[in-house]
Symmetry: C2
Subunit: 230 residues, 2 copies
């Protein structure tokens, strides 16, 4: 019987590729999408389509209203920065940082894993392109794994050992795009933009779009997503 | 200027006493109530009244729908066990265990702390009466503290060091009741019951009521809460 894994799935290219990796590794996958009141709600719709397309066993959405605790351009009315250079994107922690985001996401994945009997958590964290996010670093993820093994009934009762998998951790965006393409991810279903228009087209100008477009360009592949400016 | 603390406040006697301790220690307190779809929704109303009564600077409620990930009598339609003996309550992990609950609560407290500029997190965790909950143990809380200091922009940028305070960790329920009473907590505002009736009266029979009543009895104090059977 295949082992179960909970895969955090936002609907962007990183988490979609992560789901494809988990499936390729033979896991029975429980995709978990966290609706944290982000602006880019279309990502949530994308997540459901991607889960079906790739063949996740189940897709669950859990809502947590991070707007109530404030603090990020992704959930507040702070403007998303546009047209920043690669150097600006790479430097420091962006204002699109959501406080404690990966800790919240992983804790929900952990709770879900405990309920479905999974011990493997997959997250599309990346330490290269998002080096400014403290909760995308390997030492952070290793620490969460230790926490998971202290936090839960399942681990304490010796039924298993939790593992946090971040298969994209050390890949560049170009490598992620190539990996996803190899694994058959239909990137036309994904949305990465922080700032899409009403019809769901990506802006092409926010940090996330710029990293994505650069990734496809460097991978020598065409991005099938719809953009406002193309 | 007083330091800020985020205090997790459910509306029961433990978290209310914890808030009183944080205030007594001189913190400017930001009370955070997490509405995780629990049955005992009256606790949420109690939390607001207690925050005002004790003098928290702010009270915020954040909703996270743990029902979506399932798994506990507190959020599902599983019956709450009644009339269990002290030995039964003390033995093993109860079915009212909410998967990864304290990890979710602390991660939300951490995000809120980062937004309001706090480095101190207070939680009413107790390792004596709730020995069956893995995420109430001191080693778990110490691990979360380490995680917090890796997870956040505020800590990584060296603006402070997170501390997780669990001032009730090693107190019996009787000691908690006495401590709360000394600090002026009006226990008539609190609700501990897993299973209150429509008018908000406690059942007196669930594990939480039994521990509470035993605590008041051992402290030699009268519980001012309203009970169905008295």
């Amino acid at each position: 019987m295949p082992q179960r894994a909970v895969v955090l799935l936002s609907g962007g290219i990183d988490s979609s590729t992560t789901l494809a990796v988990a499936l390729q590794q033979g896991f029975e996958t429980y995709a978990l999408t966290v609706d944290y009141g982000q602006r880019h709600r279309r990502e949530l719709e994308c997540a459901g389509r991607i889960a079906r397309h790739l063949g996740a066993s189940r897709h669950t959405t859990v809502r947590v209203d991070l707007r109530a605790i404030g603090g990020s351009a992704l959930t507040d009315a702070i403007p998303v920065p546009l047209d920043r250079s690669d150097a600006e994107i790479a430097h420091g922690i962006p204002i699109t940082y959501v406080p404690a985001r990966n800790t919240v996401l992983l804790s929900l994945a952990l709770g879900h894993a405990e309920v479905v009997g999974a011990f493997d958590l997959f997250i599309g964290a990346n330490a290269i392109d998002y080096s400014g996010y403290p909760d995308c670093r390997p030492e952070y993820l290793a620490q969460f794994e230790r926490l998971a093994n202290l936090a839960t009934k399942a681990a304490v009762e010796g039924r298993g050992t939790f593992r946090v998998h971040a298969p994209l951790l050390r890949l560049t965006k170009a490598e992620i795009v190539r990996r996803g393409a190899e694994l058959g991810v239909d990137f036309s279903l994904t949305l990465s933009c922080y700032n899409p228009d009403d019809t769901g087209r990506a802006c092409g100008r926010c940090d996330s779009c710029r990293l994505r477009l650069k990734g496809f360009a460097e991978a020598g592949l065409r991005d099938p997503a719809a953009y406002v400016t193309q």
